[in-house]
Amino acid sequence: MDNTMSKQFIFTNPATGQKEIVQRERWRWVAHYNDGALLRQFEDDTGIFHQFREIDQSKVESFQMVSDKNPEGLNLLIPPQGADLIHFYRKVRLAGTKDWITLYFFGWKIKDDRGRSLQKMICIYPDDRFALVDEIATEGGGKP
């Protein structure tokens, strides 16, 4: 087992100003900006955790999901006209167990010039397989 998986990160809750400990996720996002800068959900060198809402979506060129086993991961290009990013965890628990199984969802959502919504979303399963999924997003808005 990779011992970095248990690494703890510091997060300052903007609502309370309190510092909180956040456990590193198995799959993490990396936002690639159009000026070459990166924003990583978990910054290994500083131990800082970033929330999804900290991403400057107006500058995102691609949105990558990486893991220790898959450091290249999946890198999703964002439409050049911009889109609303989607990222959330879906957690499932079966009665009789006490563990929540995590699925990682990410993608983007946009509205075309006729007002129709277009959405691309990928789900990463617990065995690291992934699939394009088609469902009504509960996250992200969609730029007109």
């Binding site: 990160f9 997060f11 809750n13 609502a15 909180e20 956040v22 456990q23 996720e25 959900q41 955790f49 929330q51 999804f52 809402r53 990222h87 959330f88 965890y89 879906r90 957690k91 499932v92 628990r93 079966l94 009665a95 009789g96 006490k98 929540w100 969802f105 469902e135 009504i136 509960t138 996250e139």
Partner: protein, 167 residues
Amino acid sequence: MAATLRINEYNGVGETETVNIGDTDMGNVDQANLDPVAHPIVPGDNSFEKWQKIEVVSMGGSTKVHNFKVWRTGALGGAAAHKTNARTAAYGGAPAYAQPTDADSAVATQNMPSSEPASANLGIGGSLAGELTAPGYSDYLVHQLQTNPDDLVGSTSTLNYQHDEVA
């Protein structure tokens, strides 16, 4: 790790809370983590209702927990019915606690879905569109097995609990 959630059950007239239940076995007694072998449902009878909530214990850096869904996988014995208050339309809001009963439930009146529902079917703050941005609870999930005299004893199925979380 993100948010920490657990499933709690409430029993008795006093709404006694058992946190982080290990199972949701149904039986002929109002008890959390009950032994279904010691407390079987006689065919033709109902189980006692289960009154449960999903609790967000800590946010763990996440900003929102929402989109609660519950459903059952696996077949029931014979023509037994699994009733619940969880539903995707005409949601009745957050039910006020009442001591669990083995009479026909007045709260759990719709069939439990047997596959993942398309949208939330358990609310937060009385609304399916509700969300938790701090530690708190779902509405009560109430469910009950209602059997017939010819139903098979000992059927096993699994209840699934699901939510979405934005970190």
